[in-house]
Symmetry: D2
Subunit: 276 residues, 4 copies
């Protein structure tokens, strides 16, 4: 079955009205622009709390942060695991921010779902069909990142796995695709936003941090994401990027994030999106 098939659960033809994913008083996809910010990896209680307080103050709606980290090399930092989940729980209690965090395998879904308000499926797991299945058989919303090498059709078919198992609360996420260009880590494909809006009722957000790989390009790409019609942003913020255990070069500082948020609001107004 093709992704533009009329019988697809993810398709506009089957369900014309936009899907709105509600979590912790936030409505993702309902004419709002939702910002999820935080560190690539949860490294310590202090780092996480400091980031959470700062991004909340600047206007972020959710805290992102990885406890389980999929890493290309077996020798890279793999995340704090369940201890990372405890830290996220503390950060939520303190700040009231809902939590989005990655789950890497089907067997971890119940544990991560206890803590996360939104379960993130990473780009490298977009076609981990057992994981899609497990996320489809529970009720927490799922943030599904597009694979580095995946077509829009494949992304929608992976979302279809989740919906067909019973969970309609899926948010898509563009994070850049792999091309020959070398000045950026990946090539952010913002065309996906109008394409998905036409084909599907699911909300879609953009992660400019992983796409750019370089902090300096994140603000311009974030502004473009608002203007192109995305429903939100997933952005990396770290209090001391130079010491980050993961992806420091693409993380904004809290001050940089403050400045970014101020420039997003007038664009959101210009395109008719609410961003408090």
């Amino acid at each position: 079955m093709k992704a533009d098939n009329k019988r697809m659960l993810v398709g506009r033809e089957r369900k014309p009205a936009d899907t709105v994913v509600r979590v912790n008083g936030i409505a993702i996809g309902e004419g709002t622009f939702t910002v999820m910010a935080g560190p690539c990896a949860v490294e310590s209680l202090e780092q996480t709390l400091e980031t959470a307080r700062r991004v909340k103050k600047a206007g972020a709606h959710l805290l992102r942060g990885g406890a389980f980290k999929p890493r290309t090399s077996p020798y890279s930092f793999q995340g704090l695991g369940s201890k990372g989940l405890e830290i996220l729980t503390r950060a939520k209690k303190e700040t009231g921010l809902a939590i989005v965090t990655e789950v890497m395998s089907a067997e971890d879904v119940p544990m991560v779902a206890l803590v996360a308000d939104i379960l993130q499926i990473g780009a490298r797991n977009m076609q981990n069909f057992n994981l899609l299945d497990a996320c489809g058989r529970q009720s927490k919303p799922v943030l599904l990142k597009r694979g580095l090498m995946s077509t829009i059709e494949e992304l929608l078919l992976s979302a279809e796995y989740i919906l067909s198992r019973g969970n309609p609360h899926v948010i898509l996420c563009e994070r850049g695709v792999r091309t020959f260009e070398k000045y950026t880590r990946n090539t952010l494909d913002l065309s996906i936003v109008p394409v998905v809006k036409k084909l599907s009722h699911l909300p879609i957000i953009v992660d400019p941090s992983h796409a750019a790989g370089i902090r300096d390009y994140v603000p311009a790409l974030s502004r473009a994401s608002v203007a192109v019609g995305a429903d939100g942003l997933l952005v990396e913020v770290h209090p001391r990027p130079e010491r980050a255990k993961c992806d420091g070069s693409q993380s904004l500082t809290p001050d940089g994030f403050d400045r970014l948020m101020k420039t997003l609001r007038p664009i959101a107004r210009a395109v008719g999106k609410k961003l408090r």
Copy 2:
């Protein structure tokens, strides 16, 4: 020599101030957002005049239109040639709009430069070094489109050919790169805008029509182009796209272009760009 070498003429380090390309009272790159609109190919006097009047009224600053068309197949419409140039001259006389039109080979440069206010070098000719050389040895501004397969570094090195031959009036243009994605004709790489702004002083505009290949996606990508910091837009408009001899599926109608221009202005204001 690498594109980020300090001795490069196109580089920020050698010339920190933004280059402003002045043509017909328009200043491209000086905190303005310049819109170049018109048909893919000049097909007739009527089609060209009708389009020119409509895009002028909607706020376009230049008229685009091809007299010489590079086509993948030898059996496709190859443009009206010198007759097309005459039509463009008429359209300029009537509307006052400056003309941007493509030149395909070194020997045609003098003829096209008689009519064009800006000489366009197409994506497939970005590394036609004899053509770059010829455009560098005359004084009309040059719009240099990124090749479908070209890195940002290669684009800047092709611009360097022109500057090193004596012509500093170069405008870069992103028009999408080739990837595995099939829902759009090419993948618009908006990351190029902040990257070029960092590396170079040259203005850069965006062609969302060729990138998308589908009319419906052009408005969203145009809005993203303003927000990401581009200096302008190159957009296809045809009075009857369904009868266009070239690229009809990606051309806006004049009414669609009217609506687009209205949505661009508030975004331009939000990012501090002038767009009358």
Copy 3:
């Protein structure tokens, strides 16, 4: 850590001698050319037995066939699961051919390892780190397929996950990467063979069936695989490709496989490889 780091377990510098993977009396990587053939998916006992007998007779060394099938769409045939494993067991008992079959998730490893002589990790799971980990903590050899858009470095780092967990018996497999070309399903990257031979001691085989996606191109690509220095071939054979539940268009018939094997032997001799 980079894939060419001297401390890498997969690296030539750390272990200069070629790794030879021994299974069922076959030595993969020891100057031999090993052919693994069979259907994409195990569909029935009859189909599997018929294929097994035919490929054995033609000279294949192992039987390939999927019981668990990773499929892009949730509505495609997902394989017979544990019943498929029983059929493979029967086919092995009858023909004596060792079995290579895919495992899709960490929790299935023990069950699949009971039947398989070689555990296959599919292209879409090349960076499913939990699965790599589980395959590294058991003793059956692992056939690790390169992801559709994975670099050689990433493939070697995924192999490093398995070796670093204690299992040195890894065979790499090239199966085509994703490019802009549309006449073939993927682009077979045979350059990987000399590159891997230089960087690593691990054996590497080629899957021309998934790369080509079209039966007609499989024989020429198989011959090139022998000549380029690969250690073997993974090739799809189905008795009635037009009725196959999966990938029929790229499957050879048993007669086609007979003819292919005959053309491989003189090339194997020409490059000094044993192929009985």
Copy 4:
């Protein structure tokens, strides 16, 4: 018109019999394997003569060497121009080897055609339609290289330009396409050989030097090119690669070329191709 259209001059349907390009007593495409070898650029009489003698002795059929060099940077060595053509003429007189050399623009065609036995159109000029036109309107055979990011369809349509202008003597050449992989300069797409053999009657050869970008990988890829069914090879040889003005890292030494030729012959025999 699509490249698989029945009315295409390049198509098998219109002309079922293989095209054989005859030059200087050599028949390219007639069950033979033709080797064109020499330096990337003609640098001096000594370098060119030395290379010509050595590659002739080793069995090469034509001498390749660039007098006009298309270079990404305006500051790189651009070739000796007409002086380079004189050197090639001398080398031909001394060794009897036919000459294949690049022509970069339509206006240079008559001058280059005086010296060259085969006119080469480089990858970056594959869609320089004025150049295709000019090469189609003269009678010397044309070696048309596939663009770095051109589809097989586009390559065939560029060949169609030449045939439709009256010149049927076209040889296609695969030289690697641009992908995300970084261990090789480009990714050699050997699948093009069986695809072209099915769609077209034109001969096709392979340039493994530009694809690999690294000398060490050239022999294995050359052997694969014979086995996959190509009609010949275009390979870079330089007497002192470490001092080459262009592409030294991918050039074989004359000794390396000797060794390569010896390994090609048994494979040619194995696939039924003549290689003296």
